[in-house]
Symmetry: C2
Subunit: 208 residues, 2 copies
């Protein structure tokens, strides 16, 4: 199969092969297939060649966008900025209703295909692969905890934020990744009602 | 390297090669090395050959005890019966103090090297590998949830048990696997004090 290619910035050099169609669309299709593959078959079961097959393009085209499996994993495990933005917005909710706002935001997060796919990729590879594990640790430490803790004003706000994170990560694992029943089928409103007081307590109760 | 082997049941057939020393000890050393390898290098980075190298024995000896990497993973991701026993014991605590008993049992669980190693292996490979994911799902569904729910008497005891499991799994991930700070260094007593009311609420508060 002959492929025309252009550099991702749209430039093309003489003799280079340019992909047919919109490069952005192709890149997006590759990333989508990669997320599905990492989520379903894991790091070990994913190959650039297999992803090319899933998308129906030549492996050279996948290599054109992503120099290695590592680069591809990196690209598909970077959460969309809207997600961290939503967490920050949540933490502007009035203190008394913030537990519920955080719980609602978890449900919203996992209802958004683009955020859900990335978080699934991270959680499904993180516990396992040292590279992604470090990425999840950084994500929690540098993004999630500060975003949750931003509006808290005591010295131990990171303890509060990490207890909240532990509850959110645990629900994500059991409900969305492992799909353990009855948690997987629990109506969103029931989950919010169960989670909100837990998170509220971690936010505002006196610490031990 | 020449190896003498005996069948794991201690019998030996003519012409078979028998491992030197106590077979139980060798098997245990292989399992310990396998757990460390699965935990550190994951499924993809683990091989029977590499484990043989870690233990300092011939690969044939590892193959003698475990027919495949799958069989080895299976063996090292089966939690010790003491663990489920401890959960059942915990749930015989008086209802009012059961939240604290469950929280204390989590801390105890992760202080026991043999239980911790197995649970780490499961959590570190479960999110990723379909085989172990199914094993973790079964572990939660068939063992953890019933053990937690055993002494609860309403129809929705599995909802309660799965919310508790979500909090326990989340803390295990962040504190013990990813070692996110400040959760990783939080004194056990503080963690118990933070967790106990959450678990107590999931056990006894009216459900939505």
């Amino acid at each position: 199969m002959k492929i025309d290619m252009a550099a991702p910035d749209g430039s093309s050099k003489e003799g280079s092969r340019r992909p047919k169609g919109d490069p952005g669309v192709t890149r997006e299709r590759i990333e989508r297939a990669a997320r599905a593959s990492f989520a379903e078959r894991g790091w070990a079961g994913t190959s650039l060649r297999g992803i090319a097959r899933d998308v129906g393009v030549d492996a050279a085209l996948v290599h054109y966008y992503f120099s290695s499996k590592e680069a591809l994993l990196d690209a598909v495990t970077t959460p969309p900025p809207e997600w961290l933005e939503s967490i920050r917005r949540t933490n502007s909710a009035p203190p008394r209703g913030r537990g519920e706002a955080v719980a609602r935001n978890l449900v919203w997060t996992w209802s958004q295909p683009e955020i859900r796919d990335v978080l699934s990729s991270i959680l499904q590879t993180a516990a396992h692969e040292a590279r992604t594990r470090e990425k999840l640790r950084q994500l929690v430490t540098l993004s999630l905890l500060p975003a949750i803790a931003a509006k808290l004003d005591d010295d131990e706000r990171l303890v509060r934020a990490s207890m909240i994170s532990s509850q959110l990560v645990g629900v994500a694992m059991l409900r969305y990744i492992l799909q353990v029943e009855p948690l997987a089928s629990l109506p969103d409103e029931d989950l919010v009602a169960l989670l909100a007081p837990t998170i509220q307590r971690y936010l505002t109760d006196p610490l031990p």
